[in-house]
Point group: C2
Chain length 147, copies 2
Amino acid sequence: MLKKRNVMTIGTLARTAGVGVETVRYYQRRGLMSEPEKPYGGIRHYDEQALARLHFIRASQWLGFSLDEIGELLTLQDGDHCDEARELGEQKLTSVRRKISRLQQIERALNELVQKCSSGHGDVYCPLMASLNDGVEDATTDKHKVR
Amino acid sequence: MLKKRNVMTIGTLARTAGVGVETVRYYQRRGLMSEPEKPYGGIRHYDEQALARLHFIRASQWLGFSLDEIGELLTLQDGDHCDEARELGEQKLTSVRRKISRLQQIERALNELVQKCSSGHGDVYCPLMASLNDGVEDATTDKHKVR
DNA sequence: ATTGCTTCCGTAGTGAGGTACGGGTCTAAG
DNA sequence: CTTAGACCCGTACCTCACTACGGAAGCAAT
């Protein structure tokens, strides 16, 4: 008993996955998804696999992988390359942890500044601005790229 | 006794602040820094104020302000607008905290996946890939923008 | 005086991840 | 049968923060 596969147009596919039609087409152009053959003169249809692929991409993106990295992951898809996949995962984990601690530093600094601003309200000058003018105490000590 | 002010060329200024010459010129075009008058047919010189401005910009950037927001901050520079500045700071603080908790979620998920990958090594399939294929457990439940 | 590094200045390109547009074709509802 | 709404497709445009390019002119040392 062959259950007829859930067939969708690109619009339905996109809506179901919560992305825009243009985004799906963009992923196709990037080579992250294949374009199904189109029936002569007609409209392409997409199945569950396409939807799964879209989920894969969004899930990976959510984990901080770039589209290029996702492309890499996709070449490892058969499950035979667990080590490579884990390696990529570990790299991401490291970079996520770096980001977290940088943001925590920033949070502490910003919090302190805002606190000062709220309390010492008698003065004429603004402590936040003052700190920014001084370079936020050792924030600019790392003179590297901010990006 | 007038101490002759520390005068720099754009190159020295940039190097001192740890940015590129092009970056300084870019900030000028963006209206974040002024261009000093140039002596007839000659080379512009920059003083400590310009350097301070550059520090201000980098410090603010480090705190997560965009160049547009930094422009706003700069219009509040006189210190008479402490409330507005604090308001901006608080907004940033909120967004930084959001980012942190999002990243912490990601960290937990990624860590778990990598752990699984390292341990259960007898199977043929890769747990990381498997999870990505399933959508990372409720990661894709929030079907919104990843950006 | 010649080499060689800066500076000056405008314009254009980069990368990441899309989003928008416009003209043409299909399909489904009324 | 007409019309509204998808779809198809290529190309152009967007944001953000830079970065590069290229030619002319200045300045410092040899």
